[in-house]
């Protein structure tokens, strides 16, 4: 006799009702115990171990890198070394790429004159697209090609889970889940992926905290901007090796500020909107593995650098076209571009930025890696046109538009704290299935970014430090 659907459903409910032991954990405990016992028996018969071969690294490394005394200093030292090598190593190749592009521009100029090309075509293609792309490639490619492989080597060696291990307790104290330290560490690579990875956090409350606070650590799309700004502006008073050291210190400081913000916001959320007691868990440390060094370097350089650069250049092409047109179409005495920037300017100035920067952040919503290209494009099309020859001229572009160290600092902070990129927002909606929380994920960081940069700008200008 076949049952119909509702009979089946009610019978299943009845079975569950009759047999489920919901009130006690006794059955679950018994089941789990039996599984553990069986695994142990099986292992005892099938596995043989001789203890002679435990390496020094497995034995002692974790005691050092996760120790209470050395854990954090080692973490900052590692981060510092990676960023120092990036800043120190990127200058020479950046100069080389820039001068190669400059030669190319000379040839293009000859070509365009020979073809009797009209001025506007030269303007769009060479002064807009070619020059903009040259800057983007020469300032972004070298740091990425150094930073990403080093980061990937640390990841594959197994160091990043140790970072998470060190941070675990701080997250628990903030009322969040210890595993959030893992998703945060993943955010250093890509916030969109880290938001998805928050599925490893079991409780919905703690998972929401992990999702809402993930963008406070810089992702691949934002590292180049931070490194470039620190290198150009934050150590102006120093020369040589000292300059690099100070720039490194600034980037590490920005990262620390991001981690501190993550913890403070997590704490605030767990005391207000997402109240509750943190659940317990034990973070397991994977074994250290010798990374396949060559493979990792090639993969990280090619895949990641190429990915970020591609997105930047793909946007640079239409952006250069649009900005060139906006900058050359005049309403009254002023170009359309200046009208738009002028609209944002009063608000942006209060944050220590300018209208162009804010516009770049807004247009950069689809992906963080295009903020810098858009900004450069609009600066190049308005200021005196500067041919790409060396990097100190890049700084001139910014100085021409009234930049000070405060502008650079607040641009770094705004980039660190502002709303997540389009892809991340999309993932947040997919993971939370709630417009309310997705909007919250937009509102919360934006408000923090505005408040922090506003306070810093007002204090610095109030005291007359710039």
């Amino acid at each position: 006799m076949a049952l119909n659907t509702s009979e089946k459903l009610s019978q299943l409910d009845q079975l569950f009702h009759d047999h489920a032991r919901q009130s006690s954990d006794e059955v679950r405990d018994h089941i789990v115990t039996r599984i553990y016992q069986s695994s142990q028996e099986l292992t005892n018969t099938a596995v043989e171990r001789s203890n002679k071969k435990i390496s020094w690294i497995d034995e002692n490394l974790d005691k050092i890198v996760t120790s209470k005394t050395f854990g954090f200093p080692i973490m900052f030292l590692m981060l510092g070394v990676v960023i120092y090598l990036t800043i120190a190593g990127a200058n020479v190749p950046s100069e080389m790429i820039a001068s190669a592009f400059a030669k190319g521009e000379d040839w293009l100029a000859v070509l365009f004159t020979w073809m009797h090309a009209p001025d506007w075509l030269y303007g769009i293609l060479v002064e807009g697209f070619y020059r903009g792309t040259s800057w983007v490639v020469s300032v972004m490619l070298p740091p990425m090609a150094i930073f990403f492989p080093m980061f990937a080597l640390l990841e594959n060696f197994g160091y990043l889970p140790r970072v998470a291990f060190n941070m675990d307790r701080m997250f628990k104290n903030a009322g969040a889940h210890g595993k959030q330290s893992l998703t945060m560490a993943m955010g250093f690579g890509c916030n969109a992926a880290a938001v998805m990875a928050s599925r490893i956090v079991e409780s919905p409350r703690e998972r929401m905290i992990a999702i809402l606070t993930n963008n406070f650590v810089p992702c691949n799309g934002r590292w180049p901007l931070l490194i470039l700004m620190a290198g150009l502006f934050m150590a102006a008073g120093f020369t040589g090796g000292m300059n690099t050291l100070v720039s490194t210190g600034v980037v590490v400081g920005i990262v620390l500020f991001g981690i501190a913000t993550t913890l403070v916001v997590s704490w605030a959320l767990s005391k207000t909107l997402l109240r509750g007691v943190p659940t317990h868990f034990t973070l397991e440390l994977p074994p250290y593995r010798k990374p396949k060094i060559w493979n990792t370097i090639v993969r990280a350089t090619l895949d990641k650098s190429w990915f970020v650069l591609k997105r930047a250049v793909i946007i640079a092409a239409p952006a250069s076209l649009v900005t060139w047109i906006l900058a050359n179409v005049f309403v009254g005495d002023v170009s359309v571009l200046e009208h738009i920037a002028g609209f944002f300017d009063p608000f942006a100035q209060a944050l220590g930025l300018d209208g162009y920067i804010l516009m770049a952040f807004i247009l950069g919503f689809p992906a963080n890696e295009i903020v810098l290209p858009i900004l450069l494009m609009s600066y190049l099309s308005t200021g005196s046109l500067i041919e790409v020859t060396n990097l100190s001229e890049l700084k001139l572009i910014f100085l021409d538009h009234g930049w000070t160290w405060l502008t650079a600092l607040n641009m770094m902070l705004f980039s660190l704290l502002h709303y997540p990129c389009g892809t991340t927002m999309f993932n947040i909606y997919k993971e939370t299935k709630s417009w309310k929380w997705t909007f919250m994920a937009f509102l919360l960081p934006s408000a923090i970014a505005i408040i922090v940069t506003f306070i810093i700008a007002q204090v610095v200008t109030g005291f007359g430090w710039v």
């Binding site: 069986s38 695994s39 018969t45």
Partner: protein
């Protein structure tokens, strides 16, 4: 016909490395527990069959503790892959077998892949393939996905299982008398509801454990299949009217 292979295992046991090797894809791998949280899919072919591979999220258990555990469990139960490859870490076999035993309660078409065998050897750990296979009642293959050791044997075993030439007899965990009696009482009733479509012993155990998530998933399944059936009848009815 394409056969489905599900890759299951604890986090950070090299599932993604094996996945990349089998499918020739370049999914990001990393020494990082919890890296794969979404299902990745790929394909490969041998001389005998073509396969679709599904890389399930790495989990420590298959109870309804978190979203990623449910994804992995629901796939094995409701999508019924032709073969489930359980990837276990040779350097910590005891902990990894917990998951393998749970999978064996759910399906009998299982191959156990003992991965990272090179690392285990360096640490002085030897795994007895034959003994383990006899005990578990399913094929066991020792591999190193990174160094591509043992993969030929793995592919051969996969082909054999797809051919149906491997007889398995999965290890069954015996529970205490109260639980076993209850399972015995429940199993026929579950068979009445689902026939042999689901592993009735496992379903019984989950119901006794009070697994609300599974109950909901099963109810959704009943509704779904009745919907499909009535759609089908409607279609057939329409045709016969027209004739």
């Amino acid at each position: 016909m394409t056969k489905n292979i599900a890759l299951a295992g604890n986090p950070n046991t090299g599932k993604s490395t094996l996945f990349n090797f089998l499918t020739g894809l370049k999914q990001h791998t990393g020494n990082w527990p919890g890296k794969t949280v979404v299902r990745a899919e790929g394909q490969f072919e041998t001389d005998r069959h073509s396969y679709k591979v599904i890389d399930l999220p790495g989990t420590y258990s298959l109870y309804s503790n978190s979203a990623d555990e449910e994804v992995a469990r629901d796939y094995i139960i409701f999508e019924k892959p032709d073969i489930t490859l359980v990837v276990v870490d040779a350097t910590s076999l005891e902990r990894n077998l917990n998951l393998a035993l749970q999978v064996l309660e759910m399906t009998s078409n299982v191959i156990i892949c003992v991965n990272l065998i090179d690392e285990a050897r360096r640490k002085g750990i030897t795994v007895d393939q034959k003994k383990l296979s006899e005990q578990l009642g399913v094929p066991v293959v020792l591999i190193s996905a990174r160094e591509k050791v043992g993969v030929i044997e793995l592919l051969k075993t996969i082909d054999q299982m797809a051919d149906g030439t491997i007889e398995t007899c999965p290890y069954q965990i015996a529970y205490d008398n109260t639980v076993e009696t209850e399972i015995e009482a429940l199993e026929p009733k579950i068979k009445q509801l689902f026939g042999d479509h689901f592993p009735s012993r496992w379903i019984a155990l989950r119901l006794i454990d009070g697994d609300q998530h599974l109950l909901d998933a099963l109810k959704a399944y009943i509704q779904r299949s009745s919907q499909i059936k009535s759609d089908l009848e409607l279609k057939q009815g329409g045709v016969s009217h027209g004739a």
